[in-house]
Symmetry: C2
DNA sequence: TACTAAGATATATTTTACATGTATCTATTG
DNA sequence: CAATAGATACATGTAAAATATATCTTAGTA
């Protein structure tokens, strides 16, 4: 079980941008920093722009920057937007109606719930929480939560504002 | 983000065995039932036997059966034992000490926590909860939990006994 | 004891999703 | 109009996973 590098790189791009808020960053800058292929980053950047996480500027002197401040960018949302195959198992596929155990089998709903838990945990964090150093998080939920993660009791889970 | 077919098939094998408790099942039986290659199932069965989930009997008239009753088989454990790459992102790799954002970056710990949530949800279910029909679960936590999954407040999460 | 049917094991091959590369286009600055 | 940036389309490479093949071992049974 792993996320694609596409998602990984997407997270790194926004982390980079969050840590370099004062200037436009180019694809080449970021590729150099992480030592990853700029060809792949192009696609990543394109997607991030399409989804509204970053603003890009073409032409000489161009580059990109975050479209919002890091505390308004939710990690779970970003993963949902960049990871394009969230079908945990074969029984998620539309042409899998022939499973001999349906409808009794509850495997799928359990997997759906597990995936939901995964994303709900990510929803609990914003870019400002994971970017480190430069701009400290307003609240610091991270190391408190370890190992004994408890959802923010009642109400809204997502923290984007 | 998806589990391997190896894990998928592993779950199906134990579900099949749970639903056919009265006789030994062969690899061919299970492969036929789900229309999946028996060659792959061999490896799956081998692993399940190694991990103690099933007992196998060689030779004519042989086959396999569950080593324990379905209420003693935990879904999370089984996934942990069959899914062999649980490294969500590149920064989980041991040779990834050169990340320019370390040690400030908290991405990894957030991903670790999300993975933990995923598995903790699976830990909440036993084979008897997902096998459907035949042998109803002793408790029925499934549809109550949907969408608003809450961990079993304080104390032990895993339900294997 | 030989035959058959089952899993055990090792190795080889195929598939496929993902990653990466190349080329060209468009936009912007100076 | 030259240089530099992203946008876009398409082509290729690659590594993990899935599948296949072959042989070995075990056990029942004729």
């Amino acid at each position: 079980m792993r996320l694609t590098k596409f998602t990984d790189y997407s997270l790194r791009v926004v982390i980079y941008l969050a840590r370099h808020p004062d200037s436009l960053a180019t694809i080449a800058d970021i590729a150099r920093e992480y030592d990853i292929p700029s060809t792949h980053l192009m696609k990543v950047v394109h997607r991030l722009a399409q989804c509204g996480y970053i603003l890009t500027v073409r032409g000489k002197g161009g580059g990109m920057r975050l479209a919002r401040t890091p505390d308004l960018i939710n990690v779970g949302d970003l993963v949902r937007d960049t990871e394009d195959n969230m079908d945990i198992a074969e029984c998620f596929s539309p042409d899998h109606q022939s499973c001999p155990m349906l409808p009794a089998c509850a495997l799928k709903s359990v997997l759906v719930e597990a995936r939901k838990s995964f994303l709900a945990t990510l929803d609990f964090y914003r870019l400002s929480d994971i970017m480190g150093g430069a701009t400290p998080s307003l609240v610091a939920p991270l190391h408190q939560a370890h190992g004994t993660f408890a959802p923010p009791s009642p109400g809204k889970k997502k923290r984007t504002s």
